[in-house]
Assembly symmetry: C2
Homo-oligomer: 214 residues x 2
DNA sequence: CGGGGGGTTGATTGAATTCAATTACCGTGG
DNA sequence: CCACGGTAATTGAATTCAATCAACCCCCCG
């Protein structure tokens, strides 16, 4: 691909420490690029401090908005993060000269839209128990998919999120999240592992608890 | 633009009556195109019948998913709807030959993603009162924007949605929606007009009630 | 050894749902 | 034109689920 060398020439790497703000509401985002390593949170903040996470950025995800000057959410590094960035004009030029990249970007955005809509159903209609079970399943699926596998009983699921991040993601409080994890363990659907990891004991039970068809 | 005549040649019109299903979960969507007239709802359904609306299609919105074979939500006409459609292969060919259309599609999808994320904040963190007030403001803004205006006190806002549709949109029950409308009227923020219309009495009060900064 | 962040658990409160009854609205046909 | 039937909407009372307020634990790190 012709663009690759061009791309090599204009790319730069930036690193962020956990908690560091990558972009914030109202700003013109300074970076456009691709997340190479780590996890970042996309969240919105109501005037009184309530926070809702509206997206998760993982390696290979695109960061920033082509063709838009202002964003309405915050992007914060949750772990050490490395982003491969381009300056905006360079990137715009690259886009214009290479329709395939734009096509890829459209596909990724459509996937994000689907994910956002799934999440809307969770936030609008699911109970606390269903939300927590759904999150466990989502992470288990994503992890299994990395190796081209399906989630299985016995699978160890690393959450990689604090209780506060989980609560902000699920639209709950940390106390409720904690209670629901305990309840899922009490019902023998999952077992607590060490440090933010848990084990799936009953997959179909977990799916039922998540409000999915089994 | 060269593509216009080509476009004219391959387009077809389809009409739907209120309540008619335009596309449904699991299907390969038969239509790709642009909504010309009317309102359609995008919603997801949990196995036990709970429904969440995840999007609204209005004139000029794009319907369908380029490059994806299966959708995970239902699209239903809420009013009489007309869609300008293309057959998939025709449309794919058009896309390939005309990068500008793809760019436009990307922009529209990014806007939809922003809207979905706003809605996630509403669903995850706002109270019933805030949700109802937010909806009224959203519709008032959209209506005012059609004439290039801002929402004003005295403005008559046509909701054009049944209580059930509002409830499915806001992640509430119809009873709660009804109570909150009554409460907003009791507090003199809005006044009931006839048949699914209401009048804004106190704009900044309504914004406060919606959880926005004033 | 002390302190602090993250996490769990308990008691209480409160907001929204559920269950139930009533009223308003609208098109149809007598 | 009005009575009728059905759907949509409102209102009330009881219940439920999650938030809030508060105490405590655990473990790691200084």
């Amino acid at each position: 691909m012709l663009a690759l060398t061009e791309l090599e020439r204009i790319k730069r790497y930036r690193s962020y420490t956990p908690g560091q703000v990558i972009a914030s509401t109202g700003e013109e985002p300074s970076v456009v690029g691709s997340l190479v390593e780590g996890v970042a949170h996309i969240s919105t903040l109501l005037p009184d401090g309530r926070r809702q996470m509206v997206g998760l950025l993982l390696p290979s995800d695109f960061v920033g908005r082509p063709g838009r000057s202002r964003i309405d959410y915050d992007i914060v590094a949750a772990t050490p993060v490395t982003i491969c960035t381009f300056r905006k004009p360079d990137f715009e030029r690259l886009l214009a000269s290479n329709p395939a990249i734009e096509r890829r970007l459209l596909d990724m955005t459509l996937d994000e839209l689907d994910a956002a809509r799934d999440w809307m159903t969770l936030l609008g209609r699911k109970s606390a128990r269903e939300r927590v079970a759904s999150l466990v399943l989502m992470i288990a699926r994503r992890d299994a998919a990395l190796n081209g596998e399906e989630p299985t009983e016995g699978q160890h699921v690393p959450l990689r999120l604090t209780r506060q991040a989980i609560a902000d993601y699920l639209g709950l409080t940390i106390e409720t999240v904690s209670r629901q994890f305990s309840a899922l363990a009490r019902d023998a659907l999952v077992a607590h592992g060490s440090q933010r990891t848990l084990e799936i004991l009953d997959l179909s039970g977990l799916m039922t608890a998540a409000g999915e068809a089994v």
